[in-house]
Symmetry: C2
Subunit: 384 residues, 2 copies
Amino acid sequence: MRRVAIIGVGYTKIGRHWGKALRDLFAEAFINAMDDVGWPNVDMVYIGNMASGLFCEQENLAALLTEVVSLNPTPAVKVEAACGSGGAALAQGFMAVASGLYDTVVVAGVEKMTEVVTRDATKILATAADREYEVFQGASFTALNALIMRLYMNKFSAPEEAFGAFAVQMHENALDCPYAQLRFKISISDYLNSTLIADPIKLLDCAPIGDGAACLVLCPLEKARELCDTPVEIAGVGLATDTLNVSTREDLLTLKATVYATRKAFKMAKVELKDVSFLEVHDAFTIMGILALEDMGFTRKGEGWKLAQEGQLARDGDIPVNPEGGLKARGHPVGATGIYQAVEAVLQLRGEAEKRQIEKAEVAALQNVGGAGGFVSVHVLRRV
Amino acid sequence: MRRVAIIGVGYTKIGRHWGKALRDLFAEAFINAMDDVGWPNVDMVYIGNMASGLFCEQENLAALLTEVVSLNPTPAVKVEAACGSGGAALAQGFMAVASGLYDTVVVAGVEKMTEVVTRDATKILATAADREYEVFQGASFTALNALIMRLYMNKFSAPEEAFGAFAVQMHENALDCPYAQLRFKISISDYLNSTLIADPIKLLDCAPIGDGAACLVLCPLEKARELCDTPVEIAGVGLATDTLNVSTREDLLTLKATVYATRKAFKMAKVELKDVSFLEVHDAFTIMGILALEDMGFTRKGEGWKLAQEGQLARDGDIPVNPEGGLKARGHPVGATGIYQAVEAVLQLRGEAEKRQIEKAEVAALQNVGGAGGFVSVHVLRRV
């Protein structure tokens, strides 16, 4: 198996891009990534995207996007695993290079969520849950996360202030991130007073809806230094699934897919928890961010909320998490999120993260989730 | 790069399955494929599917399907390239095994198209075309193919009877195929008198709408004989794109992506045209079947229609095509089609195709198309 490196990154600011279509967002991120690495020939393209069919009435998305950036006849396919589509696409990009079938591979994540009204976006996001057993009963995605959060609060006596502390930290991190969607400070009282969406989830527990595209260029590690001064190796790849229907899980408070995917990725990369310089976790809701800390093994089950409340997730804390603000504040264009995580990790590992640089960043672990834990990818990236 | 074999196949009959949901169709095909090979442990699952979001309000499809067949935590992702989703997924399955990251990989294609009314299905299928430059102007998918067919007829003096001969042949082939959707004979006068859909495309030029699922089990070739008496090697993989928007192509009558993908797959498999025992081509419309013969190199541009009219596409002809009846008569559950092609090829290469067996079948070439040629996959399968 060939070793694989990321040699270029590009991205758009995340937000409500009235003036830019899905294809324009991709083109911007692609051009930035190619500028970053000096325009090598591209052999294959993967597009992580959750729901261009429902959001934009556009399937055959990957072929369309190759046309937009004049890459034909370079092959391209779309990869879907709901909000985990970006991480799923990254794993395919890894395999494409590792197998030897392709050398230079572009992996992008794109999502345009604001072409529909918010009510419809909620309905579209619910397609990540089980339509027949969950959505037909009236469960939205927020409602499912609310059930999990309420159970967690009851079982582990976690106060709402702890979730607030997580949200406050993410917004603080995003202040230094030029591509973040919600680049403003919030206080704990802002959090506590924010609108209740689905009890106990408040507005400020939730990642926002937004548009964005992020792009990576991959190649075999052995060729990476010819194209790039600071390659970052994809050292570990772990993918796993769990039941989509959360009600059939043995334990609602453990994302088993995170546990399996972490184990797999860490084993492949030959790293342990103590080797990890910082984390990117999938905090679509604050409860998901806290569960990730536990399921990846950084603290015991039921104690993740304490890490948030004690401030250990800050960039200079014991376990720096989402140095750019996470889904919560950087933004969450769903199918693109996994690639945005990788972009931030590469910038950090290269030492190019400017004001938000984490000192001595050597190894990053990235967790990306599809649905309420039905799909999870974990990637370990390493400076080489 | 490890060599890769197909060691198990399963499928459902194609048709209007009122009583079976998308998940049920997958489960049936999966169980049949696992029965075929003796239930090895599965390391990874790929699902080829075009539009479960639009047809069934269900994304996160791959994770859902692993739950249905109790495969969690085995990882799973969905791959989309419109009607070429099956072929795209097969290529990912190949890379997953070839890379060494996974050993036993399930690749399925699934589509449930009849949960919506026909008018909506037409609209959903149009998402394989360019929404902003084609669909907004009123072009349906049939309309785009009609433009291509009209131009072909004018330029090459191809009579409508030649397209009719193609359709008649496909229906004749399907008579011997137990899983075909349209298992009945048609005559040339049935064809000529069938309803005009989009001039010059008649009803009997078109593949039907249907539900179905097909499933393959892949493993490294070196392990294949432990699990299966008659492994079939995936000897060549070629993928390519072209502009989605057909109006921007240099030549409307050449699917360049077919040309590129064929060249790539044949080169990798080290085969030439003369080595190919039979073809599976993507005849969503008869014109597409005829263009495939030309673009894959089996005849000169403008002469594909003659092969059909001369009867050379029959199972005992010079270039046997779609021995099970093709998209036209076997049926075309869009995201599953590429996997149905592989299933038929495996049955033929194993010598298990019963009444429709092609004599001395050694090598098969499979062409699967997304949109009107925006994406094409070509796979070469070989008896080993």
